[in-house]
């Protein structure tokens, strides 16, 4: 059945992947095996609508599934059973009247309570107008009692028009009015509850609550699953996964972040305690470049979610330190009497290496069908194409969602599914592929280049010919800070 799916007007790229992930989670749909086409929902747009519009139709097999998706989602404002639509109120009336009675009457009976909400996109409708519009619905035989707080049934009248001004979207060609019964909507209260400013222990790159929940949804985090973050920091991503019931495990190279925090009740553990969430089943200080997992261990995590350090806000570090300054300094040998409290020096960890290690770890440690969800930086003047994303023979990329961070760079949330088992041969193929990737696509991924591309003064953008290179903007800009 087709449902009207209305999104919050933000993070546009993230909306459909979230619904599709949740459809998989609640619909019991297995991730595809090698060679199969990844699961996709059927979507369509209202007539003449731009794909960036908040209004979409989605085909779902059951109302229960629609309810589950909407309730767990972050970006679905509402999922509605559409009773009618039209480009005028007359057309809407005809459409509603022709909608089968057996679908309508169960929700109109006299022992139920209901509420009608009038909504629009891009304009505020005054209370008087709302009242008029609601009275105009008298052709629907509502028998129930009106109840504004927690009614049994919520009906929505949603009007969308080109109100003359700029509502932040490509102009609406034709006025459209929808009337439907609400099946469910996102619980956005989660976001103020978990917002970072109320979090006890924060680091400079803590993931904001909304994005962390989106990542956990992409990773299909749920009860009974084990989720790992190799760059756990203050635990901001795992908090979201734990909220959805997953068991969590995290590692970080920086002991200040993982262990000490800022006091007894201001550390990673307390960030979970604060919300009454179960503690991570494991936290450890370890290096993603030299992971301390037992060699016979594989396919243990259901998902790996992380925001790798790519050197813009925080740079990566790995073990080795002075040992790696080949020739310049003698390899450092820790004197025996100093070994206990020795703090090893670390070396810079380039993004290329970091991503390679991450994919290798995920290929080995994820269960079949497990998901790897991570952010990847993209310089916006580059031609934005899928070939820029890292690849691995064990993984299939199922969604990439861009979030623009500045005029120069954005970050893309990649969701990959493990489709094939990890073998020595695969590891070798992956290593070769990785070298090609490094040479062909991503010189800027090398140490420091990304940082300077993002932060260098504008003059550095001058091309050799001396022309100011205009930064192409492949995506239209919409009003609103977070879109």
């Amino acid at each position: 059945m087709w449902y009207l799916c209305v999104f919050y007007h933000r993070l546009l790229d993230y909306r459909k992947p979230e619904v599709e992930s949740l459809a998989q989670l609640f619909g019991g749909i297995e991730d595809p095996q090698n060679g199969e086409v990844p699961f996709q929902l059927q979507w369509k747009l209202p007539l003449h609508y731009h794909t960036d519009s908040p209004f979409h139709f989605v085909n779902l097999p059951s109302e229960q599934l629609a309810l589950n998706i909407a309730t767990r989602s972050i970006l679905v404002k509402g999922m509605y059973e559409l009773w009618g639509e039209g480009s005028s109120y007359e057309e809407l009336k005809e459409s509603v009247l022709s909608y089968p009675d057996e679908r309508k009457l169960p929700y109109l009976n006299s022992d139920s309570t209901f509420k009608i909400t009038v909504d629009s996109f891009g304009k505020v409708i005054s209370l008087e107008e709302q009242k008029e519009l609601i009275q105009g619905l008298s052709y629907i035989p509502f028998k129930g009692r009106v109840k504004l707080r927690n009614p049994d049934h919520n009906f929505w009248l949603i009007e969308v028009d080109n109100y003359g001004g700029n509502n932040g979207l490509p102009p609406i060609v034709q006025k459209r009015i929808f009337f439907g019964r609400e099946v469910g909507g996102a619980d956005r209260k989660l976001i103020p509850t978990y917002q970072l400013k109320s979090r006890n222990y924060l680091g400079p790159t803590a993931m904001d609550a909304e994005m962390a929940f989106l990542m956990a949804n992409q990773a299909l985090a749920t009860s009974g699953k084990l989720v790992y973050d190799p760059f756990v920091g203050t635990g901001s991503i795992l908090v979201a996964a734990a909220h959805f019931g997953a068991m969590t495990m995290g590692a970080d190279i920086d002991i200040r972040v993982v262990r000490d925090g800022r006091g007894p009740d201001c550390n990673v553990w307390s960030n979970f305690k604060q919300y009454g969430l179960p503690m991570p089943v494991g936290l450890l200080r370890a290096d993603n470049n030299l992971p301390p997992w037992r060699p016979t261990l594989k396919e243990v995590f259901d998902a790996i979610i992380c925001d790798p350090p790519y050197g813009v806000r925080a740079g990566g570090r790995k073990s080795g330190g002075r040992k790696l300054l080949k020739g310049a300094v003698e390899p450092y040998t820790v004197p025996d009497d100093k070994r206990t409290d020795h703090i090893p020096s670390t070396a810079p960890y380039s993004l290329v290496e970091c991503v390679h290690d991450l994919l290798d770890l995920a290929a080995k440690m994820l269960v079949m069908g497990g998901r790897l969800v991570f952010f990847y930086p993209v310089l916006r003047e580059d031609d934005f194409a899928e070939t820029h994303f890292p690849e691995h023979p064990c993984f299939k990329l199922i969604s990439s969602a861009e979030q623009i961070l500045s005029s120069r760079y954005s970050r893309v949330l990649l969701t990959m599914v493990k489709m094939g088992p990890y073998t020595e041969e695969i590891a070798e193929v992956a290593r070769i592929k990785h070298i090609e990737f490094k040479e062909n696509h991503a010189k800027w991924l090398e140490d420091g280049n990304l940082h300077s591309a993002v932060f260098s003064p504008a003059d550095a953008q001058l091309t050799e010919a001396g022309d100011l290179k205009l930064i192409k903007d492949p995506k239209p800009k919409y009003r609103g800070k977070y879109v």
Partner: protein
């Protein structure tokens, strides 16, 4: 550190061949109640190296696990409870994990093992 984590870790010092299992030196063991999840336990049972797990639980002062275990035992509530308790509720709060080959101690402080290597061990 719970025994689930212990069962996953090994010493990865350069040149070490058998870095697993790490020997537990327990200074302070605490018990924390964790809600039981049968599905999770069944999945983890397949991943756990049983011998290392039993030895580790004994090093933590817990002696209720059988020497050998097979999946049919998961049907017993008593076994499941004991497995759950040993896997997730016993915490090594302070102590160390010792590399079986080199004797290098990886300290565990405030429940977090420090597996980071020194410069000359990489």
């Amino acid at each position: 550190m719970r025994l689930l984590t212990h069962n996953m870790l090994s010493s990865n010092i350069k040149g070490v061949v058998n870095g697993f299992p790490l020997r537990i030196e327990a200074e302070k063991v605490v018990e924390k109640t964790v809600e039981m999840n049968g599905d999770f336990l069944k999945k983890m049972f397949e991943k756990v190296d049983w011998k290392a797990f039993v030895d580790a639980s004994r090093a933590m002062g817990y002696n209720e696990l059988p020497e050998e275990a097979d999946p049919s035992m998961l049907d017993s509530d008593e076994f499941l409870n004991n497995f759950h308790h040993a896997l997730l509720e016993l915490h090594l709060e302070e102590g160390a994990l010792v590399c079986p080959e080199t004797g290098r101690r990886f300290p565990v402080t405030k429940g977090i093992p420090n597996m980071l290597l020194h410069e000359d061990e990489v």
